[in-house]
Symmetry: C2
Subunit: 288 residues, 2 copies
């Protein structure tokens, strides 16, 4: 397995693979890998085959963090990540430094952004106003650097996956986007690098995200007719905030394709929520 | 020579070329080709070689026209364009319909844009507020559809070339951007598809763009010290508007790399201007 640090070296490699007709799969991550990431790697491997190339990018992208968010403490451990990647048969880790991704110093700063303007408005986009423009921009860069035939994203951030899918369609990126299901701990907590922040009793309280989704799911499935979203939001918020360290950031019920909020909730509607557990902000979602 | 109408067919062709290791050069145009375009084609041919592939895209991109601009009357003549392209040895014309580039109808409209936020602010960006986001977005799409090794742009729109160059750098498009010099008519008028609008006496009046640039050039070269931009602007405007149908839209003196306006003008500074000749808006530029 190779660890590539520079954009130019990664593009050279991509060009060689292109010429050799290799199939290339990319799994973009911010590192501090967990089993969820590794399931994406396995999916990429299945899709490109044993002779194909699987690239994991590891980059904590500064432009997708807001000024008061956890960019500086976001967990990083490249040695551990490299070991895990080697174990699951990754071919290349692309782990660029910030100066590689956002070069400065020549007096002409970075100034081009990819901006999705419809799906990115609500939910995460509302809570974290510059988040998605950071995400779509860095993903466009990674696509141009690695030039994969396919890219595999998780779906814990449902909105993010939808935005990247839209970007691929709108800008005609020549690749297939694969969105894989959320991987969960045995007790149901969605896997996340940020779960590391959940010390002591907070870890148990974090279960409230998944449980609240399951409750809504049951309620909607049992209801004789569509249920007003406003009522479900109130109930869900009340349930979540019974956990003493939990505070709802948002909960939304929406069309799974257009992400437009729905006033009446029935089967097939998507629900997503963000909850602070102490200082740690976690997200989860489900199809009802 | 092949005329390709669909994005999918163009991407299939690009994929075949990629596999075969062909070098591909792209010349993006809005059609109604003139000798300036053909000089870009020849440049592309030189660079990819006789065995390489030269693609000319012909697409009058609606998203780069403002509501009161000339989108609907912009000159179009694909048969003539195809003949010219065949004569100069183009391999493929990519001429998509609007439904190919901006599909609708599935209830999820186009919503992803590439936006350059520094260089695009002044000049054309100020006069035509949504112009450059239309340009950078469609060019990103063309790059992803044709996947060229190099793309050749003219420099009549100096700011556009600078923005595309910045976009290629910032988003890591795996291609080389080539910016070719302005081609001019025998009397000095910069070649443009819009010159077709210059009927009767307007054609002669349009010479005022080039002549005003030459006057400034001479003045700056003769001056013992840097000349205030404000003074040059007043003089240039006065000179241009001696032509009865001419009205200055803007004139700017700026750093050729950062496009930042300079207060004092000396050799090496770039000047660009836009002038209405009757209803026709023309642009030109020069290095001082």
């Amino acid at each position: 397995m190779q660890i590539v640090r520079s954009v130019a070296a990664m593009q050279r490699l991509a060009r060689e693979w292109r010429r050799a007709g290799e199939r290339v799969g990319l799994v973009p991550t911010m590192g501090y890998l967990h089993a969820g990431h590794l399931s994406l790697v396995q999916r990429a491997r299945q899709l490109v085959g044993q002779r194909g190339k699987v690239v994991v990018s590891i980059y904590v992208n500064p432009t997708q963090f807001g000024p008061n968010e956890d960019f500086s403490h976001y967990p990083r451990d490249l040695r551990r990540d490299a070991r895990l990647c080697r174990e699951v048969g990754v071919d290349v880790i692309f782990a660029p430094a910030d100066e590689q991704m956002y070069p400065r110093g020549d007096g002409t700063g970075f100034s081009t952004f990819v901006i999705e303007e419809a799906l990115a408005r609500g939910m995460e986009g509302k809570s974290r106003p510059t988040h998605f423009r950071g995400v779509s921009t860095v993903v466009a860069k990674l696509f141009n650097i690695v030039q994969p035939d396919l890219a595999v994203f998780g779906s814990k951030d449902y909105q993010q996956a939808a935005i990247i899918k839209r970007m691929v369609r709108d800008l005609n990126f020549p690749l297939k986007l694969v969105v894989a299901p959320i991987l969960r701990e045995a007790d149901g907590l969605a896997m996340s690098s940020r779960n590391k922040y959940l010390v002591g009793d907070l870890r148990a309280q974090a279960l409230v995200l998944r449980r609240s989704l399951q409750r809504v799911q049951a309620a909607v499935r049992q209801a004789a007719r569509p249920v007003p979203a406003s009522r479900l939001k109130v109930e869900l918020k009340r349930f979540v905030e019974r956990a003493p360290a939990a505070r709802i950031d948002y909960v939304e019920f929406f069309d799974p394709e257009t992400l437009v909020p729905v006033p009446k909730v029935k089967r097939g509607v998507q629900v997503a929520l963000a909850v602070f557990i102490g200082k740690t902000r976690l997200i989860d979602n489900a199809r009802l």
